[in-house]
């Protein structure tokens, strides 16, 4: 049943650069909210490299096929090898045949799904066939419900699957009156990130104090500004390059963005990963866990 007056708050965790620690932080946040008895749902929006399930040990309660766009398929019985399809294809997806009487075929990896070939073919030999691109799941974990997905390797990640699992999570949050949605975002700034951001009330950007980290921080911040999503920054592995951390602080100050915390480089994080647990559960007194707790205080707790 739809509960329309219930408002769910959404925090999306992003980075720009890959590997800064989004997933480790998201898992730790999920653990801390559960420990404080704040109900939360978690979404792993990094659908082509979904790692949150490696720390949260989910038990799948629902699994669904995800069917995405279509690709072209040539009927070899009808193809007369005229090459009209190849002439209109902009994606080098039409493969001239060397066997089978020279009939043409479509490279499924290259095909964009535009169907230009379908309309160009005088023999009606080409059809668009919808593709299963992956799966999505609703799972139970020891720290709450998780919505996650697995995109088949190499498939189009246009954000549709991200949008789908976020919608499912939001519906579930409204139904169950869960006030908080934590979204573990993907790296980059393109479509999957844009979908992960949609409807977010705030974003926590996890950055690292390297030249690359700062460069990509600026790109994700510009993206968040474009979509008008308030952002906060935290610096992970901060002591690896203190000069870089200082540059980030200066940038944040310049932009009027708050740095809500700083996490030192701490092997507790990869060690906790190996144990399959959030770092705050596996090593609650570690420097990383303490730093994350403070960041959590400055973000989630502040929301009330």
């Amino acid at each position: 049943m739809l509960n329309r007056s219930f408002k769910v708050k959404q925090l999306v965790i992003l980075s720009g650069k890959g590997g800064t620690g989004k997933t480790s932080l998201s898992a730790a946040f999920a653990f801390l909210t559960r420990k404080s008895q704040i109900p939360a749902l978690v979404v792993d929006a990094d659908v082509d490299a979904a790692n949150l399930c490696l720390i949260l040990t989910p038990e799948k309660t629902e699994g669904h096929e995800f069917w995405g766009g279509s690709i072209a398929q040539i009927d070899s019985q009808r193809c007369i090898a005229c090459g009209d399809c190849g002439r209109v294809c902009r994606y080098d997806a039409v493969v001239p045949g060397f066997e089978d009487g020279g009939v043409f075929s479509i490279d499924p990896i290259a095909c964009d799904g535009c169907a230009a070939c379908v309309f160009a073919c005088s023999q009606d030999a080409i059809q668009m066939v919808q593709q299963q691109e992956g799966y999505w799941f609703h799972s139970q974990t020891q720290i709450g419900e998780l919505f996650h997905a697995e995109l088949f390797p190499g498939r189009e990640n246009s954000g549709k699957l991200v949008t789908l699992i976020k919608q499912q999570a939001r519906l579930r949050a409204e139904d169950s009156q869960t006030p908080l949605l934590l979204v573990d975002g993907p790296p980059g700034i393109g479509c999957p990130v844009i979908s992960a951001c949609a409807g977010a009330d705030a974003s926590l950007v996890v950055t690292e104090p390297s030249q690359a980290g700062l460069h990509d921080l600026k790109r994700i911040m510009a993206t968040l500004q474009h979509f008008r999503i308030p952002a906060m920054i935290c610096i992970n592995k901060a002591d690896i390059y203190p000069e870089g951390a200082q540059q980030i602080r200066a940038y944040a100050e310049d932009q009027g963005v708050e740095v809500v915390g700083v996490i030192p480089f701490d092997e507790s994080i990869p060690n906790a990963m190996v144990m399959g647990k959030p770092v705050n559960e596996a090593f609650p007194q570690s420097p990383a866990a303490n730093a994350i707790k403070e960041i959590w205080n400055n973000t989630i707790l502040r929301w009330g």
Binding site: C114, L151, G154
Partner: protein
């Protein structure tokens, strides 16, 4: 020879390896470096190119010529992405949904559609350290699709013989990675001994297998996490070509924008040897 550096998981060290490899080979071969991570390119921070050329990366979007358009709606029907709508008095175009396929233009019975270049990013080139031919692409903020930029970036490279092209791939295991890998001779998969690194490596294995490209592994940050991870690498049917140890000195050097060679000159020879291993593997015909 075209070698792509990919990983699956972000932050494993693709750019570190790609730029170091390019720098090492530049003294022996004409070397091109292509930064295909057009959403968040970082190669220029390591190789310091002097950019001498910049062009926009574009997709061709339809422009309806209203004096010729009869509002028949054929373009709307043809478009698979709903980038066109018939709003009764005119045809409306949604550039952000457009894939630039040209299908609407081809199928308009009145030939009332012209295509115009809509910029979605920029492509820059120049000469970098050690004479490396440097090219990168940058997707514009708020643009959703990186693959057209990657495609155009790759088209700018027309190397002759005895040239090595290093393609630095984006993270993840989806279409932008596939676009980068298309047509390469070899893929170096950079991973780390953590559960995330290994999990995402398996995604990449799926891709290189489907695309039938020979591959090898580089284990970066070797020694981090627990030793139990090492046995998992043994199960992966790829040769390990290099292990770079986890070392805070290396980590801070990379953070400062230095390649491995600048941090420790021994890597000049290490990467030269690595390249030879790749050449040998290809000669023997080792397909993943």
């Amino acid at each position: 020879m075209r070698i792509a550096i990919a990983s699956g998981k972000g932050g494993t060290g693709k750019t570190t390896i790609a730029t170091s490899l390019a720098l090492s080979l530049a003294s022996q071969y004409e070397t091109w470096y292509l930064d295909c991570d057009v959403e968040a390119p970082n190669g220029h921070l390591f190789l310091h190119p002097n950019f001498t050329d910049q062009v926009p990366a574009v997709i061709k979007i339809p422009q309806i010529q209203s004096d010729l358009c009869t509002l028949c709606g054929k373009c709307v029907d043809v478009c698979q992405f709903h980038a066109l709508a018939n709003i009764v008095k005119s045809i409306m175009v949604f550039p952000q949904l457009c894939h630039g396929c040209g299908s609407c233009t081809l199928n308009c019975p009145q030939q009332a559609i012209q295509e115009v270049d809509a910029p979605i990013g920029k492509l820059e080139s120049g000469i970098a350290m050690a004479g490396i031919h440097f090219q990168h692409g940058m997707l514009s903020i708020s643009e959703p699709m990186p693959t057209p930029v990657i495609r155009q970036l790759k088209r700018r490279v027309n190397p002759g013989k005895n040239v090595v092209v290093i393609l630095d791939s984006p993270p993840g295991a989806s279409c932008s990675v596939v676009e980068t890998l298309r047509g390469v001779d070899y893929v170096l998969l950079v991973t780390e001994p953590t559960p995330f690194g290994i999990h995402d490596l398996y995604q990449m294995l799926g891709i290189v297998h489907d695309m039938n490209i020979p591959a090898g592994m580089i284990i970066n940050r070797d020694g981090i996490g627990e030793k139990s991870m090492q046995s998992q690498f043994a199960e992966i049917p790829l040769p390990v070509l290099l292990r770079v140890p986890f070392d805070r000195k290396i980590a801070s050097g990379i953070a400062a924008g230095k390649t491995l060679i600048e941090i420790d000159p021994k890597y000049q020879q290490v990467f030269s040897n690595l390249y030879q291993q790749i050449v040998n593997q290809l000669k023997v015909g080792n397909i993943c």
